[in-house]
């Protein structure tokens, strides 16, 4: 139904794109941009969250220790969202959207609210699914920021460079993710292949 690439062709494309990213600019990464968007919104609501701070290497700083971290790089990027990493993530969203318009993966019917495997295991309740995904999102981003990266930064970019941190993150994430998924969705069958 969807023009999903066979795994080998998809893997090769993924490899080439992540290689091009490091060749032309730098390795891909996504989860930091959740912090940048948070900081943009926080600074809009409370305008003194990010201030000019000449003693920081990036010229901006914050009373928040995390935004002030690393010479104020997050503070500076939130003040100037037209930077490489933030625009990369916006373009990534656009790329996924364009692909979905032209025959790629696109949700239809009940799959807009929940995947079949969830429905089979936990029923049709949207509320239940949304409470679960809200909590999952909270855990995933809190965990990714504590770890300093996510699937893109640690797993793909990290393992590509043979980073120790990438190996630690990947091994632990799967060591927890696999048993949690098996237990949580037990009895849901093999599921439709999409």
């Amino acid at each position: 139904m969807n023009k999903r690439l066979p795994w080998l062709a998809g893997g090769a494309l993924l490899g080439v794109v992540t290689l091009l990213a490091v060749m032309i600019v730098k390795p891909v990464g996504v989860s930091t941009q959740f912090v940048i968007l948070d900081a943009i919104v926080w600074d809009l609501i409370s305008p003194d969250t990010i201030v000019e701070m000449p003693e920081n290497a990036k010229g901006y700083g914050s009373e928040n220790a995390y935004l002030n971290n690393g010479g104020g790089k997050y503070a500076a990027n939130a003040k100037n969202p037209l930077n490489y990493s933030f625009v990369f993530v916006i373009a990534m969203i656009a790329g996924a959207w364009l692909s979905s318009l032209f025959g790629g993966d696109k949700a239809t019917g009940t799959r807009k609210e929940m995947p079949d495997v969830w429905r089979k295991r936990f029923g049709d309740s949207k509320t239940k699914r949304y409470i679960a995904t809200f909590s999952a999102g909270f855990f995933v981003l809190f965990g990714a920021r504590l770890a300093g990266g996510c699937t893109s930064g640690h797993m793909m970019s990290g393992l590509m460079q043979t980073s120790l941190s990438g190996y630690i993150f990947t091994v632990v994430a799967f060591a927890v993710g696999v048993p949690v998924a098996i237990l949580l969705y037990r009895g849901a069958g093999k599921g439709e292949l999409s």
Partner: protein, 189 residues
């Protein structure tokens, strides 16, 4: 110029995530349940291929080693990875694929993103305290790789071997692993 490159590379990355099925939580959940490993195989093959090409290209001078960006290893990488893994299994999304999933019309992905923004905010607020604990203590010196890279900023654990050869061996191992792994290991009963 860097904004133009961000748009091109971002578009390509988002397109790829969608075409390998990563923007569909069904595929991520079934990957973790071991009932459908095709996405795992694609990711493992992609990592192996990019690693072989990266180290090969650095060795012959096509890729500038200054472009490398090795993240630090510390206790929090393991704890954060565990918290991440649990949420990954429950939701079927990671940060990149939740954004891509929302773009493919998924409302549960939007809810995941809102939860994610709050989770990231909670980390921002707790960072001052986390910094005072052992959680950010470095492991093996922090920014280290297994294979020696041509970038002096990063030490390697196996620095007595040729980094190029070791990385190519590891990369080929990832690709072979992807090729020999069956499409499914479990019936999900």
């Amino acid at each position: 110029m860097s904004i133009f490159l961000a748009i091109i590379i971002g578009l390509a990355f988002g397109f790829t995530l969608n075409r390998i099925g990563a923007t569909n939580p069904q595929n991520i959940i079934n990957m973790l349940r071991l009932t459908d490993l095709r996405l795992f195989k694609a990711i493992a093959f992609g990592i192996g291929l990019s690693s072989v090409l990266l180290f090969g290209a650095m060795a012959i001078g096509i890729i500038d080693p200054a472009h490398l960006s090795v993240k630090s290893a510390y206790i929090g990488v393991a704890l954060g990875g565990a918290i991440f893994g649990a949420g990954f299994a429950i939701g079927g999304y990671c940060p990149g694929t939740s954004l891509g999933g929302a773009a493919a019309g998924r409302k549960d992905a939007l809810v995941f993103i809102v939860g994610g923004l709050l989770g990231a905010f909670a980390y921002m607020l707790s960072y001052g305290w986390i910094k005072s604990t052992f959680l950010l203590d470095k492991i093996a010196g922090g920014k280290v790789t297994l294979a020696l890279t041509p970038n002096d900023k990063y030490d390697a654990i196996f620095s007595s071997f040729s980094g190029t050869i070791l990385a190519i061996v590891l990369g080929v191992a990832f690709m072979v692993f992807a090729l020999v792994l069956p499409n499914t290991l479990s019936k999900g009963e």
